[in-house]
C-alpha cells in the first residue's frame, strides 16, 4: 500500500511582525527566494540519506510559481540532480494544489507507475499591501517522499468535493490574491466544503471524529480554522496547531506543512486526517507505522520555525517584493543567454563540480583541462550542493546592486573546489574565515524579467 516514506519542510528565515515586535508574525521569503527555491530546500530536507537516483517522479504544487509557461518541476529536478528520465509535473491554480499533487503521487505508487515519488508544495503568495488578507499569508514549502516500502504513514483513503465559488482568486498578470467578503467565503466556501469532504471521508472509512488522532486542517485564518475544527467534532488536542502568528497561511503548501509537522511527532498507530481547501476540498486519511519513529535527521517544520530573524521593517518587505519603486531595476538587462545557460546547466543549476581522475583535484566550474595536473577531459562529476563548505575569503559589497546591502560574497571551499558565491540569510557580523556553510538554491538575479537561479552559501545552523 502506498504511503508517505519521508518528509521535509522549509520555512524562510525572515519573520515580519504583524504588530509590535515580539508578537504575532508571519514567515516571509527573502528577496532571493521564491516557490522554486523553497521547494528545492524542502526537497533537500526530505532527501537526506536517500539515493537521489531512486526518485521516479516529481510533482510540484504552487499557486505562485513565477513562470506561466516553463515547468518548475523540471528546474527543481535539475537542481536536485535527479535522473534524466524522471517524470516531472506541475500542479497549480488552486490552494488545493498541494493535496492534489499528494493524491496524484499516491495514485501513481498504487498504480505501480512509480516506486518513489517526490511531492513538493511551495507558495509565496502576495495580497495587496496592508490588508487583512496579507497579514494571514506566510511563505513556506513542504516535501514528501511517497512509496510502498518503509512507509511512515499509510494512505488509507480519500474523499474530495469540487466546488465553483468566487471566494479567493488571482487572475493572470495580477500580483495579488483577492477575496470576497470574509463571512461569505468562510461560511459557504471554506466551512461547507471542508465539512462535506471530511464527513464524506469519515463515513466511507467508518471512522468517528474521536478516532482521529490529529486533524491536519487548512484554515484561511485562525478563527475560521478553530470554528470548523469544532464543528467537525474535534477536541483541542486532536487539532494540529495551525501556526497562525508564527508562519501564516502558506497557500498550497499550508496543509502539507502542517502534515510534515504532524509526522515529526513520530508516533506509530496514529490516524491523521489531512484536509485542504480551495475550489472544493480534499480530505485524506493516513495511519502512521512504527517506521515513523525511526525516521531521523529531518529539520522539518520545528527546526525552521526555531531558526528565525526579524525583517527590519515593513518597507523592507515591500522592497523585497518589488512593491516599492527603486532606482535599481532588478529586472533590467537582457537576461541570460539561453545558449550559455544550456551549456552551464550542470554547473549552475545542479552545482556539479568535476574531480580529476589523475590527481583527484575537485574543481568548479566545468573545465576541459585540469587546474592542477593539466590532464585533458579526465573527470568524474561530483555533486557539491549537498556538501558542507568552509569560508575561505569574503567581502561585504555595497557596490553590487542588492535590495539589502551589503551583499555578502566570497570564496567557499567545498571538497577542494572553490566557489565564488554570495552568502544569504546571514548577518555580516557572523561571517568568519573557516566558518562552515551549506549551499542553498536561490534567485541570483531577475535580469530579463525572469528569475535566474544559482546557488548561494548560508551559515550552517
Amino acid at each position: 500500500m502506498a504511503g508517505i516514506t519521508g518528509y521535509g519542510a522549509y520555512v524562510p528565515m525572515l519573520r515580519l511582525a504583524l504588530g509590535k515586535k515580539g508578537g504575532p508574525e508571519r514567515a516571509v521569503a527573502n528577496w532571493d527566494e521564491d516557490a522554486v527555491t523553497m521547494a528545492v530546500a524542502a526537497a533537500i530536507d526530505a532527501l537526506r540519506g536517500i539515493d537521489r537516483a531512486s526518485v521516479d517522479a516529481v510533482l510540484f504544487a504552487s499557486t505562485s510559481y513565477p513562470f506561466k509557461e516553463k515547468q518548475g518541476a523540471a528546474i527543481i529536478a535539475k537542481a536536485l540532480d535527479l535522473r534524466r528520465d524522471v517524470s516531472t509535473t506541475d500542479v497549480g491554480d488552486s490552494l488545493r494544489a498541494g493535496t492534489n499533487a499528494l493524491r496524484a503521487g499516491l495514485d501513481a505508487v498504487n498504480a505501480g507507475s512509480a516506486k518513489r515519488v517526490l511531492v513538493l508544495a511551495a507558495d509565496t503568495r502576495m495580497a495587496a499591501p496592508r490588508t487583512a488578507l496579507e497579514a494571514n499569508i506566510g511563505d513556506g514549502a513542504a516535501a514528501f517522499l511517497l512509496g510502498a516500502d518503509d512507509v511512515v504513514a499509510t494512505f488509507e483513503r480519500s474523499h474530495t468535493v469540487s466546488d465553483e465559488i468566487i471566494d479567493v482568486w488571482r487572475a493572470d498578470g495580477d500580483p495579488f490574491v483577492h477575496t470576497w467578503e470574509d463571512r461569505f467565503v468562510v461560511d459557504h466556501g471554506y466551512r461547507d466544503n471542508v465539512v462535506e469532504a471530511v464527513r464524506g471521508l469519515l463515513t466511507k472509512a467508518g471512522v468517528a471524529p474521536k478516532d482521529v488522532t490529529k486533524a491536519v486542517l487548512f484554515g484561511p485564518d485562525a478563527r475560521s480554522h478553530a470554528t470548523v475544527a469544532k464543528k467537525l467534532g474535534f477536541e483541542g488536542a486532536q487539532v494540529q496547531e495551525p501556526l497562525f502568528g508564527r508562519l501564516g497561511n502558506a497557500g498550497a503548501a499550508f496543509t502539507p506543512l502542517l502534515l510534515a509537522a504532524a509526522l515529526a511527532e513520530g508516533k506509530a498507530g496514529q490516524r491523521l486526517l489531512v484536509v485542504s481547501y480551495g475550489d472544493g476540498a480534499d480530505a485524506l486519511l493516513f495511519t502512521t507505522t512504527p517506521q515513523a519513529e525511526r525516521l531521523e535527521g529531518r529539520r522539518g517544520v520545528a527546526w525552521h520555525l526555531a531558526r528565525r530573524a526579524e525583517m527590519p521593517s515593513y518597507d523592507m518587505y515591500l522592497k523585497f517584493r518589488q512593491l516599492l519603486a527603486t532606482e535599481h531595476d532588478r529586472r533590467a538587462g537582457a537576461g541570460l543567454s539561453a545558449t550559455k545557460h544550456f551549456r552551464d546547466r550542470d554547473s549552475d543549476i545542479t552545482l556539479r563540480a568535476q574531480k580529476c581522475r589523475r590527481c583527484g583535484q575537485v574543481q568548479f566550474p566545468r573545465q576541459r583541462v585540469c587546474y592542477k595536473c593539466f590532464a585533458k577531459d579526465e573527470f568524474d562529476a561530483v555533486r557539491l550542493s549537498d556538501k558542507v563548505g568552509t569560508v575561505k575569503s569574503f567581502t561585504f559589497d555595497n557596490f553590487a546592486g542588492s535590495p539589502n546591502p551589503p551583499l555578502v560574497a566570497g570564496i567557499v571551499d567545498v571538497d577542494g573546489a572553490r566557489l565564488y558565491i554570495q552568502m544569504t540569510d546571514v548577518d555580516p557580523k557572523e561571517v568568519k574565515l573557516g566558518m562552515p556553510v551549506e549551499l542553498t538554491f536561490r534567485k541570483i538575479h531577475e535580469a530579463g524579467g525572469t528569475p535566474n537561479y544559482f546557488w548561494k552559501s548560508t551559515p550552517l545552523r
Binding site: L336, D344, P365, T395, G401, I411
Partner: protein, 385 residues
Amino acid sequence: MNKDAIRDKVAIVGMGCCKFGENWDKDPQDMIVEAAFEAYADAGIQDPQRQIEAVFCGAQYPSKGTAEVADALKLFNRPVSMVVNYCATGTDAFRYGVFAVACGMYDTVLVVGFDKPKDRGVSGPSVAVTGVRGLPATPAGWFSLCAAQYFQTYGAGREDLARIAVKNHHNGTLAPKSMLKREITIEDALNARIISWPFGLYDCAAQSDGAAAAIITRRELAKGFRDDYVLVRAIAIALGPNPQEDPDFDFLRWKPSAYAAEQAYAQAGITNPAKEISVAQVHDCFTLTELLAYEDLGFCEKGSAKEHIKSGTFELTGSLPVNTDGGLKTFGHPTGATGVRMIYENYKQLQGKAEQRQVRNATVGLSHNIGGAPQACGVCIVALP
C-alpha cells in the same frame, strides 16, 4: 624565453599624456591627439606621417577599435594593431611595440593607450548579466578577496591601507595631470563609506578617461631624437589562474604579479629589486593591491609590508618611492592608458623632469599592472643607459 632578446635594445624618445579625469567634454580622439602630439613634440618629431611606421594601441572599452587611433591621428597606410589584456592592456601594447622595434621591422613606433569609460553612465565597470556565476562582478569585490586572509595571517588592517591612500593622495597633488588633487588624512580614509569591505571610498582608484602615448625607436637611432632617452630593460606579461576558481590559492598574494616579476627580473638581471629599483609605479586599483604588489614584486619580505608602510619606505622621500604621481588612486585609471601613463611617469623621473615629485637618483624604474579577477599582470622596467 630568451632573457637577453630585448634588453636595452629599444629606447623611449618621446612621451605624452593628456590630463586624466572625467573628461565629459572630450572625445577619445581629443585625448589621443593630446597625448600623441605631446609625444611627437617631446621626441622632436616634425612629420609623424613619415616618421611613425607602425602603431600599437591598447584600450579596454574601445568603441571603434584600431580606427579610433588611426582616424584621430590620420595615420593610415601603415599597421595599426590593438591589444586587450585587462588592466595590463597599456603595458602589453607597449610590449608589442618594443618587440616590433627590437626585431628590426620598424625604426620608429607609436604606442597609444587610452580609454573612455565615463561615457557609460556608471561608476566602475558595468555588469553584463548574461550568466549567474561570478556575481557580484565588482572589481572592489574581487580585489578585496585577499583582505580577510591577509589581515588574519599578517596582522595588517584597514589603517595600513589608509596610509597608502594618504600617500597616493599626497603624490597626486604634485602631478599636474592627475585627476584628484586633495590631501586626505588616515581618519578620512577610515571613516569613508564602505564600498566593498575592507575598501572604503578612499581605498578605491578613481576611474577616469585618459590617454598616454610613447615614441620608441632602436637604441642606435635614439641620439637622433634626444640625449636623455630612456631604455627599455625588460617587459613581461603573465597570466595566472582565476583566483575565484584556483583550487590551491591562499589569498595572501596575487600570483600573476609574482609570475610577471620573475620574468622581468630575469630579463633585467635584477636579483635584489628593493635595492636595484629606484622608483616604481604599481597597480593601486585598490590600496590592498598596492600593498600586495610590494611583496609580490619583492620590494619587501612577505608579510612585512605594514612595517614598510609605517616607516615610509614607499613615500617620495623613502628608499623605494611608489606611485610618485598619485597612482591609479588619484592620477586616475583609464584602463588602457594606465600602463603607458606609468611608463610616462618613470620616464620623467629618470630624466629628472618630475618637478615637485622628483625622487633622488632615479636610474631604474618599474611599472606594474594587474587586472581581471585578477588574472593578468604586466611588468615593465625602464632604465637610464
